[in-house]
Amino acid sequence: MIVRVGHLYPEYLNIYADRGNIAVFERRAAARGHELQVEPVSIGSTVVPGRHDLLYVGGGQDREQAMIAPDLVRHGAALRQAVGRGVALLAVCGGYQLLGRGYRGRDGSWLEGASIFEHETLAGETRMIGDVLLESTLPEAPGRTIAGFENHAGRTVLDEGAATLGRVVAGYGNDGASGFEGCRTERALGTYLHGPLLPRNPWLADLLLAWALAHASGSEPEPLAPLADELEREAHAVSAARARERGGRPAR
């Protein structure tokens, strides 16, 4: 099956190895006989709800994020519609922030977001940097671990009742205080974890691919055939151990 991927602002948002996540989608889809067609969606192009089965938004430096933010807001309604129609979406780091309601700078300024996720981000005094380990809070995979790296000054505060990606085992997470990380709306996932996220957490890639395939075929998601994933498990174990030994220690 052909999976149509919309990669948002790839030339602006690519700071934390975002092409690694795309490569993982491509190879893992190919291993199951599916083909990914990746299309850049950048400043000036149009998001058509239903056109893509999977959307990806990466992270950028502050300057690049500010450059694309107004364009992203313009796509807000179309993106919300796409999410409502069941598109799979992964937003990492800056992309995760930009898909919330907005970002409050330290000077009080307000950068409006695309309002996919029920959260707001506040600029913090210090950056939260380090290895992270999560236990998934997704009903599809309760308790499965996710290992990654975080580096963010923003404190992302979720609305009461908003669904999360995981519980923080080691590291800071959304705001260094709540004990949770990431956000979920329908089949859209947002997270601060990069590193990149997917090579060492292949089950999460497969879950997103299963959602994308369901969108493409108009059916319910089916679990994908497992792959060997030996190196993936090894890399996950090392990354998880790093988080336990040297991940951020939030003040709780």
């Binding site: 700071i15 934390y16 450059m67 380090g130 090579p199």
Partner: protein, 456 residues
């Protein structure tokens, strides 16, 4: 020198000797750490005591090599206080100034992040700024933030301090916009240029208006001849330039060095366009110190690779070539140099994730390994994050049967050697602490000398 500083100095020199005697590495920063802890202002006094003042070099990539090239130019005629082992934080600089008793001139490589403080304390006569690439984001933060720190630091320079900047880096060049005493250097040879930027290039948007630059020539990363078609901002005219560049495989690279005081042909004994940039930066720094052209040329031609950057050692019937990789731009140039140099069959790549390597290993995904993956016969991935590296290669398209993951460095080196035919060369690409580890293994086998003995 005040009494207090004199006391601290002799105590610190004792620590250096003890630290070397105890076999704890080169003792390169321990004495400096002591002085730096006791009295940071000692650095001001140590710098002020140098009769010919201080010259500083900073950049994301190439600062060790640039400083070593400048040393090669300057050392015949001057006694230098030079931090040749790459100890480029304030404590390492304090150590260097402490231990170089009779030095006339301070020649200091400075970490990008501490540059503002070192400028403030050492009051340099010349500062050479090479480039800003995305580096270890977990440690340095985003490069715009480094640029802002540099901008503030440049504003504190004395009006007669000479600032040498890489004109081909729009962000670095813009630091010199309002200054009088400036030397702008760059490459001017479109025949050696690429027309497209590499993946994940930095600083590709106009520093004035934010529009993407149009590049007439791309030389290294985002370094090149840029122009904004909206506001007209463009690369400034070059005072010091490299023209008519001729690569000589892995053996070196030749170019015509053009300066305000004339032109001359230079043949470097290290390869790669990035080393041409290092040579331009070193030449500009030395021009700022009043060095004549013939000394620039002979110094650059005498230069041999800096510590671990490009180092060969002999292992029985084979040679090992060590090329340091530490961030996407640097690694891309190392790979490009290998590509120009011929076909390597086996490669060892070593990834550690300690502080000096960057704890965040995501940068390996921004390196354009792909062309290599299609032609190499075998890659041995090693280091503390060997599995992560293995994923980088297999998801990048390397068939799994061409990959071996051997986390332990020494075993990986031996495996790489076993895969290399007698008479052949094994290329090893390590991150910083992996490079130290590999050198220690080589030293243990009697293949190279420790670095505190080998430089100078």
């Amino acid at each position: 020198m005040g009494t207090r500083l004199a006391l601290e100095t002799s105590a610190a020199r004792l620590v250096a000797r003890l630290s070397r005697a105890a076999g704890r590495g080169g003792g390169t920063t321990l004495p400096g750490k002591l002085v730096w802890k006791l009295d940071p202002a000692a650095l001001d006094e140590l710098a002020a005591a140098l009769p010919q003042g201080v010259a500083l070099v900073s950049a994301t990539n190439g600062k060790t090599t640039t400083t070593a090239m400048a040393s090669s130019i300057l050392s015949p005629a001057r006694r230098l206080a030079w931090n040749h082992s790459g100890a480029n934080l304030a404590s390492g600089i304090a150590s260097t100034l402490l231990t170089a008793r009779d030095a006339e001139l301070g020649l200091l490589e400075v970490d990008e992040f501490v540059l503002p403080e070192v400028i403030r304390r050492t009051k340099p006569g010349v500062v050479a700024l090479g480039n800003l690439f995305r580096d270890q984001l977990d440690r340095y933060g985003e490069l715009e933030h480094i640029a802002e720190r540099w901008r503030a630091a440049v504003e504190t320079l004395a009006p007669d301090t000479i600032l040498a900047v890489n004109a081909d880096d729009s962000l670095v060049a813009s630091l010199a916009d309002d200054r009088e005493s400036v030397i702008r250097f760059g490459v001017d040879d479109p025949s050696r240029a690429r027309t497209t930027l590499p993946h994940a290039a930095d600083s590709k948007y106009c520093v004035r208006c934010g529009h993407p630059y149009r590049y007439e020539a791309v030389y290294v990363g985002h370094l090149g001849a840029y122009r904004c078609e909206v506001c007209g901002h463009e690369r400034p005219p070059l005072d010091v330039a490299a023209r008519a560049i001729e690569p000589e495989g892995l053996d070196g690279i030749a170019f015509t060095l053009t300066t305000p005081s004339g032109s001359a042909r230079v043949r470097l004994a290290v390869p790669g366009l990035y080393n041409v940039y290092n040579a331009l930066s070193a030449a500009s720094l030395c021009l700022g110190l009043g060095v004549p052209l013939d000394e620039l040329v002979s110094g650059l031609e005498r230069f041999r690779a800096a510590f671990g950057r490009f180092e060969r050692f002999v292992v029985g019937e084979r040679t090992v070539l060590l090329l340091l990789i530490k961030n996407p731009a640097g690694a891309n140039e190392a790979l490009r140099t290998l590509e120009d140099g011929g076909t390597e069959r086996t490669l060892v790549v070593a990834l550690n994730d300690r502080i000096a390597d960057g704890r965040d290993v995501s940068w390996i995904w921004d390196v354009d390994f792909e062309p290599l993956l299609s032609r190499v016969e075998r890659i041995v991935a090693t280091g503390e994050r060997a599995a992560e590296l293995g994923l980088r290669f297999t998801y990048g398209g390397l068939p799994p049967e061409r990959l071996e993951v051997v986390p332990e460095l020494e075993a990986a080196l031996d495996r790489g050697l076993a895969l290399t035919a007698p008479g052949g060369e094994l290329v090893v690409l390590p991150t910083y602490t992996a490079m130290l580890g590999l050198r220690a293994i080589a030293t243990g086998r009697g293949l190279t000398r420790p670095y505190w003995e080998s430089a100078e």
